[in-house]
């Protein structure tokens, strides 16, 4: 056969054309097989992928919610801002969740309720009254009874997105309002329930309508085709893609119910852009545009949403309210024409005024500095994939009002203290940490003077020498040893010390002067270096290093004498941990940014409860705090006292490092601990001390935050005794005409040389009086 063919073709070349019908036939056969295989493959793919369809859901990060109760620290303006952040709509009459009506110092609102990790907060309509910075009234609208406590919804501060940037709120099939389904079908695919995924009649109708109008006014794609396109195909407009889309739509219709397809469409469709976040699905769109759950929307609002898939940007009701209203009315007209609504319903909905939530159009840079801390805390328990895809809810400790106040203050405050430098383009930089003085919750963070800065996070990463901020650890170790009290006399005299490596160490006071004999508390208040070295060497450098680790410093510290003056590096957050322990009276509570993690449905997964550990003796901490309050009254922070008149007493400490490269201040009141660092990334001089730089910025911020004055409870074994105002080492030199009353622990009373408490007989006091003359 083969041979004969060869011969034939060799002999009769004129008959060559006869081969092509046969090859064509084969080619067609092969083509049919290929198309059939393609169909089978598409069918397989659709069945596999659609039945396993799961939305990749971003993790949502929430700030600490506002809690309302009589006496709560909150003013009307901030509270109204908070409600707007939550997308509450201002109305003259509050009838639904998510509405508020502010009137001067009163606000009526209805909360939406929220599924917190520790239980569900119900929706409630309340009247809130404010008296300056405090809540003075909290009353239920229904019944008018006083309500002890209301927790609002938390602000969502960030999302950890899937790579696509898509965000959605999936809802159950039974939660979708019927009117929405009707509206979508009326406007997008009126023969949805009768076609098989592709609708030739619909295509023909669209074709005619478009020819008549001279432009594209209708699309011929069914909802099924749109879903397939969004889920599985790219945007290219080729014939092959169109065929693929039609085949997939058919396959989908063969294997899945109309209800499944519609449900997937309603959750999938793209309905708007919010910064870097793509708003998908009607449930999220309802929240985004109206600030309310889908189930609570009225017909006109549902119709507006149903009109969005055609042009989410064009018909965006926040940006283009007129076009959005026109489009809404087209949807309503279609619904009326197809019998989904009555003429009365149509008229009523068409007349409804457009009322969208006044969300900030851009979510801005968010909270990158705080989010770094959240991510690093979460990294202990969650991998990146779980955070991006599983729709976790993460409850954090951030206080959005406080964060806003810090950001609003910081840049101009730093600019006010910055020294002009020649030819140095990089400005002075800053970091701020604000924590709750009791719990260690991180309430605000700044890693740069610019808000929203996403570069080097100085709050977490700038590891700098802390200078005199270390001194409280030295003095606390001394008080705890039992060998020192606030009236112990220290020598603020020149020191020259040979170190182990043979170097000579000759520390100096900041002003290069010496004060001779000084009281313990005075040396701390005035931050005297030489007296501190005198004290620290007597206490033992290793005990000071140990105290630092007890207060919360986790790195290993080599016990060199130079640590007594702060030659130890810490980040601002690490400093805040140490001062938080002091503010808690010697109880260390690890700083925390994340409180709990739940699934998207609210099931608790992880809880990071408050911890506390007593690491220092309360009496010693109390005595130390006397001196740290003295820093404001008599010491290095005295310059800030006039501005803080309503806030004092407060406790704090300035810190300056060599050649004023770092300017620090750390301090606390009853409610807050604040740490401020100023410096340059390249470590050059700032020309600022702790007092001329960081203290001023700290004061600006704390006035803005209305820090509460410090009122510490003296432990039982504390008593007050008078000592001579001037320190002396021998009783003969003592002058009890000028005294100061200081707290002492019962077992460690002042040395008789300085004590003016019940000292000696009447005659001795008389002699004191003569000495005074």
């Amino acid at each position: 056969m083969t041979n004969s063919n060869r011969k034939t073709s060799a002999r009769k070349p004129s008959k060559q054309p006869r081969w092509w019908p046969k090859y064509l036939l084969r080619f067609m056969l092969l083509g049919t097989v290929a198309v059939a295989l393609w169909c089978v493959w598409i069918d397989y793919e659709i069945r596999r992928d659609f039945s396993a369809l799961q939305w990749a859901l971003p993790a949502r990060i929430y700030a600490r919610p506002v809690e309302l109760y009589v006496g709560a620290h909150q003013n009307a303006a901030d509270f109204n801002d908070y409600l707007r952040r939550l997308g509450y709509i201002q109305t003259a009459r509050v009838t639904e969740p998510g509405q508020f009506n502010p009137a001067g110092s009163r606000v009526v609102l209805q909360t939406r309720g929220f599924a917190f990790w520790d239980g569900t907060e119900p929706s409630i309509a309340v009247e809130v009254g404010f008296d300056g910075q405090r809540v003075s009234l909290l009353r239920a609208i229904q019944g008018g009874a006083d309500v002890p406590l209301v927790r609002l919804e938390p602000v969502e501060i960030a999302q950890i997105n899937p790579g696509t940037g898509e965000d959605r709120l999936p809802i159950g099939k039974d939660e979708i309002p019927e009117a929405l389904v009707n509206a979508v079908i009326a406007v997008e695919d009126q023969r949805f329930y009768t076609h098989y995924g592709v609708d030739p009649i619909g295509i023909a109708r669209a074709f005619v309508a478009n020819i008549r109008a001279g432009e594209i006014v209708q699309g011929g794609s069914t909802l099924t085709q749109q879903l397939v396109k969004n889920l599985y195909l790219n945007r290219e407009q080729t014939l092959r893609r169109k065929i693929e889309e039609a085949l997939m739509a058919l396959a989908l219709e063969i294997h899945f119910s109309k209800e499944d397809i519609l449900y997937a469409y309603l959750n999938e469709v793209f309905l708007g852009q919010d910064g870097s976040r793509a708003v998908h699905g009607f449930a999220l769109a309802a929240q985004h545009y109206f600030g309310r759950p889908l189930q609570q929307l009225d017909l006109d609002e549902l119709a507006l949403l149903a009109g969005l898939p055609r042009g989410p940007s064009l018909y965006n009701p926040q940006r283009n309210p007129e076009r959005a209203t026109e489009r809404r009315n087209v949807v309503l007209a279609r619904m009326a024409a197809q019998g989904y609504i009555t003429a009365e319903e149509f008229e009523e909905a068409r007349g409804a005024a457009l009322q969208v939530s006044a969300r900030p159009t851009s979510r801005g840079g968010g909270y990158p500095v705080f989010m770094d801390m959240v991510r690093s805390d979460l990294a202990r328990d969650y991998d990146a994939d779980a955070l991006r895809n599983e729709g976790l809810r993460i409850f954090t400790t951030l206080d959005v009002s406080m964060q806003a106040a810090v950001e609003a203050t910081l840049d101009k405050s730093v600019a006010a203290v910055e020294r002009p430098t020649k030819g140095e383009p990089a400005p002075l930089e800053a970091a701020v940490v604000i924590t709750d003085a009791t719990t260690g919750d991180v309430r605000a963070l700044a890693g740069s003077r610019q808000s929203g800065y996403t570069g080097f996070n100085r709050a977490l990463l700038a590891d700098r020498p802390i200078g005199s901020l270390v001194k409280p650890a030295v003095y606390l170790a001394a008080l705890e040893s039992g060998n020192f009290n606030l009236a112990s006399v220290l020598a603020d005299d020149p020191i020259s010390m040979k170190l182990d490596n043979g170097d000579l160490w000759e520390p100096k006071n900041y002003e290069n002067t010496t004060s001779g004999d000084v009281y313990f508390h005075d040396a701390m208040e005035r931050s005297l270096n030489l007296a501190t070295v005198d004290l620290g060497m007597k206490v033992g450098v290793d005990r000071v290093a140990y105290m630092l680790s007890r207060l919360g410093h986790t790195d290993n510290i080599e016990p060199y004498p130079s640590i007594l003056l702060g030659a130890v590096n810490m980040t601002p957050v690490e400093v805040a941990q140490i001062y938080q322990t002091l503010a808690s009276g010697g109880f260390r509570s690890p700083l925390r940014a994340v409180e709990a993690v739940t699934t998207g449905e609210g099931q608790p997964l992880e809880r990071y409860g408050m911890e506390t550990d007593q690491v220092a003796d309360p009496a010693s901490v109390f005595l130390l705090e006397y001196a740290m309050q003295g820093v404001f009254e008599r010491g290095t922070a005295k310059t800030a006292a006039p501005r803080l008149d309503n806030q004092l007493p407060l406790a704090g400490k300035t810190g300056t490092t060599n050649d004023s490269r770092d300017s620090w201040f750390a301090g606390y009141g009853d409610d807050l601990v604040g740490v401020v660092w100023l410096g340059h990334d390249d470590n050059r001089e700032t020309g600022l001390t702790g007092a001329t730089g960081a203290l001023r910025v700290w004061t600006d911020i704390m006035l803005e935050l209305d820090i509460q004055q410090r009122q510490s409870l003296p432990p039982a074994d504390i008593e007050w005794q008078s000592v001579a105002l001037r320190p002396v080492r021998v009783a003969e030199a003592r002058n009890c005409l000028e005294t100061r009353s200081l707290p002492f622990r019962a077992g460690s009373l002042p040395d008789p040389a300085v004590s003016c408490e019940n000292n000696g007989s009447l005659m001795e006091r008389v002699f004191d009086r003569f000495r005074g003359w």
């Binding site: 406590l149 409860g609 105002l725 019940n758 009447l762 006091r765 004191d768």
Partner: protein, 175 residues
């Protein structure tokens, strides 16, 4: 001679005034031409802080709660109760959560109460006892010690906390 006696007497009276005028109320002193207010900035006991730990007043006594392990129980100090105060409302929810065995939720409610009233020794005590029931003894110990630091002269709270601390110590030793 009489003049000298008078001088000594007057001087004696004057000096008696200068040194110490009684605990906590020292006389003002002068130094470097500047008046120094010597009453220390740290308040003298008892302090007045936002939420004062009030003395125990008559209020309906709550039944003493039995905590697991069943053999151990801690006397529950009675917190002065005001139904409209947020902390009282939260403490009532704590009781409900504990009764329902939802101890982590109870702890969370205590933490909420502490954010409102950080110096309320009763709340610290309650948090300590919840952690004790959860057998988280190190945390229980820390919270109980903080309760003590805010107990002041409230003998009922001090006794209850001391007793809880003793139970914690026993439980920790038997681990």
């Amino acid at each position: 001679m009489m003049k000298s006696v008078w001088l000594i007497l007057i001087l004696g009276l004057l000096t008696a005034c200068t040194g110490n005028m009684g605990r906590g109320i020292p006389a003002p002193v002068e130094s470097r031409g500047q008046v120094i207010r010597t009453p220390p900035s740290v308040p003298v006991q008892p302090p007045v802080v936002g939420r004062v730990i009030e003395p125990i007043v008559e209020s309906p006594a709550r039944p003493v709660e039995v905590m697991p392990p069943a053999t151990q129980s801690t006397p529950e100090p009675i917190r002065p109760s005001n139904p409209t105060s947020p902390v009282s409302a939260l403490m009532a929810s704590v009781d409900t959560a504990v009764a329902a065995g939802q101890l982590e939720q109870a702890a969370a409610l205590c933490e909420r109460a502490l954010r409102i009233s950080p110096r309320d020794g009763y709340v610290w005590f309650r948090l300590a006892s919840v952690r004790f029931q959860q057998q988280r003894y190190a945390d229980a110990d820390g919270f109980a010690r903080r309760a003590l630091s805010f107990a002041g002269s409230d003998r009922g709270l001090v006794q209850a906390t001391d007793s809880l601390l003793a139970q914690i110590a026993v439980a920790q030793r038997s681990r």
